[in-house]
């Protein structure tokens, strides 16, 4: 409990508060590194004045055109994905219930590819991605027959839908000219390169508009963690709560997809990591969002600075690391036999 005087008492765990502060500091460090590292980076000495509006020449260009918007998009997208994953995992009460595992990314990729090949210039690629993601989720929802409740069905249905969507994407990549195909292939892995302030605005509008709703639902969800019966007894109808949570989660992921493409596994890992650090019961929405932002900024830092492969889309890094983490999770998840 956080108390201010005698009258204000906010239900905040001390651990959560400390963790949140630590995450903010780490994110700030990662953000500074993103802006200042590398050949084009703004030197640390000039960064302060650049951020307060005193940037000139190269620094101004880097801050306003190159890395500034990219960083702000990464922060917003990471937040959105983190919250989305936490909502999903809370609603399905399964650590693997995540938009990635159930094919949202693949759906977005297929939608993007479809828009790029069949309706070039008519439907913007991000809009295609958005539609693809929503359509894939609808397909998964229908094909499970039990909605989003049964995790085993969710996973298998997700794999099926993902396989179909990947086939579409691969066909389009096959059918296009090489350069366009290469660009599209990068986008469908989730990319943050060449983002504009418009993208930054889009994702932050999505995050900020859903924030109040997420806050509203978080309390009902945490009651839901106690089990459906108790939640029913406390007047928080579990079924509606779950549906709202999943819908919100899809809106957030879809927002992220529309600015950055389907970035893999942030939504899956962020809630898990924050939960493991704090050992709080159930996914914590705020901490998940902060962790998501930190993870994505770090991944994007790798994408920009690692010399091994140049200019890879950030989604490849998150896919590799998140996939390995998911494998670890799968091996350690032996207690409940949730899957």
């Amino acid at each position: 409990m956080l108390t201010l005087g005698r009258t204000v008492a906010l239900p905040v765990h001390r651990v959560a508060l400390v963790t949140a502060c630590a995450l903010l500091v780490l994110t700030a460090v990662a953000a500074v590194a993103t802006l200042s590292l590398g050949r084009l980076g703004i030197p640390l000495a000039e960064l302060g004045s650049a951020l307060t509006g005193g940037a000139e020449g190269k620094n101004a260009f880097v801050l306003e055109r190159l890395r500034g918007p990219r960083l702000v998009v990464a922060l917003g997208t990471g937040c959105a994905l983190g919250v989305s994953g936490a909502l999903f995992q809370s609603a399905t009460r399964n650590p693997l219930g995540s938009p990635d595992v159930i094919g949202l990314g693949a759906g977005a990729g297929a939608g993007a590819a479809f828009a790029a090949l069949l309706l070039p210039g008519v439907v913007p690629v991000p809009v295609g991605a958005l539609l693809g993601a929503v359509l894939a989720m609808g397909l998964v929802y229908v094909s499970t027959g039990t909605g989003f409740r049964n995790p085993a069905r969710l996973v298998v249905a997700g794999i099926g839908v993902a396989a179909m969507c990947t086939a579409v994407t691969q066909y389009v990549v096959y059918a296009m000219e090489r350069d366009k195909a290469s660009t599209l292939s990068a986008y469908v892995n989730g990319s943050l390169s060449a983002r504009s302030w418009d993208d930054a605005t889009t994702i932050w509008v999505v995050v900020l508009c859903t924030a109040p709703l997420v806050a509203l639902i978080s309390r009902r969800l945490s009651i839901g963690e106690m089990g459906d019966d108790i939640a029913q007894g406390l007047g928080a109808g579990p079924r509606n709560t779950k549906t709202y949570a999943v819908v919100l989660a899809i809106v957030l992921s879809a927002g992220a997809v529309s600015v950055a493409g389907p970035i893999a596994f942030i939504a899956l890992t962020a809630p898990q990591i924050s939960q493991r650090i704090t050992r709080l019961p159930g996914p914590h929405l705020l901490l998940s969002s902060l962790t998501g932002a930190l993870l994505l900024v770090l991944a994007d830092l790798c994408a920009q600075q690692l010399p091994l492969f140049e200019n890879l889309p950030v989604g490849i890094y998150t896919m590799a690391i998140g996939g390995a983490y998911l494998g670890y999770l799968l091996m350690s998840e032996r207690r409940k036999g949730a899957l």
Binding site: I159, G160, A162, Q170, Y171, S182, F265, G323, A324
Partner: protein
Amino acid sequence: MTTVTSVPPSSTTRSGAARRAYALVIGLALLTVTLFASVMIGSRPTSLGDVLDVLSGTADIQVTTIVESRYPRTALGVLAGLALAVAGTLMQGVTRNALAEPGLLGINAGASASIVTATAFWGVTGNTAVMWWALPGALVAGIAVQAIGSVGSSKSQVRLVLAGAVLSAVLMAYIQAVTLSKPQVFDSYRYWVVGALGGRDFDVLQAMLPFAAAGLVLALLLGQSLNALALGDATAASLGVNPWLVRGAGLLAATVLSAAATAAVGPIAFVGLAVPHIVRAVVGVDFRWQIVFSAVAGPTLLLMADIAGRVVMRPQELMVGIVTAFVGAPALLVAVRRMRGNA
């Protein structure tokens, strides 16, 4: 192992044997029809009479060229379909998991990663070399998925599939990283990954043949032991069958088969999943029959998918890997709806 004479009770009954003999005749007839259809149908259709003329050597040169140009893809379809289907049957038998399949369990992804590595960093070309390169990746991926999927107490079928999806994701990240940073490899990769039978010549077939033959022979040799294994490890051991040896050999055969198919025609999903289910429904639980039937039904299914791909978007073609994804995934979704509880 010769002491195990009649493991599944149904295999001894006369009506069961007759039913299977019928089914085999029908299956072979269906395969023959599909073979003819495969050399008949294409962007320039020919009639059955034309094909018969070509076979008897009386057709004119133009028709002969058209029909004969479809021989390699048809033969490749037979071999790849056989390999994938038998691999799926073996894997479902070994893991006792109805969702086991080389594609879903990451073996195709392992083979793909291996091939991409070999072409990108060592400039490996040539069909036989690529086959050999596909093997280690497929083997490592297969073992890794089994290891990840079987840790812990849960005996769920979904675990293994999820482990396969996880490993495939990581390998895909690697493949994308390599292909996107090497335009030349990206170009050949995007043509290969869609899974196409067309546009390949007899060389691929020659390279694949020994691997497919080895895998099939091993599978046929294992049939009896797999029957014993289906009764449980303890019973199998009491019948003189070493369960771990059979599992290992079964997975090895499945890996060789699917790696060869992947190297030859690209990663093709769902054939290995669907065929064993169809085959079990027709011939029952005896693995010797299941393997023989898979070897007939797999080619039929893959060729049908390939023919469908040639017809639906005429004059363009839809690659067979895409057709199988679009037919197989809904089948998987229907199976999901039938799953009870947490399966």
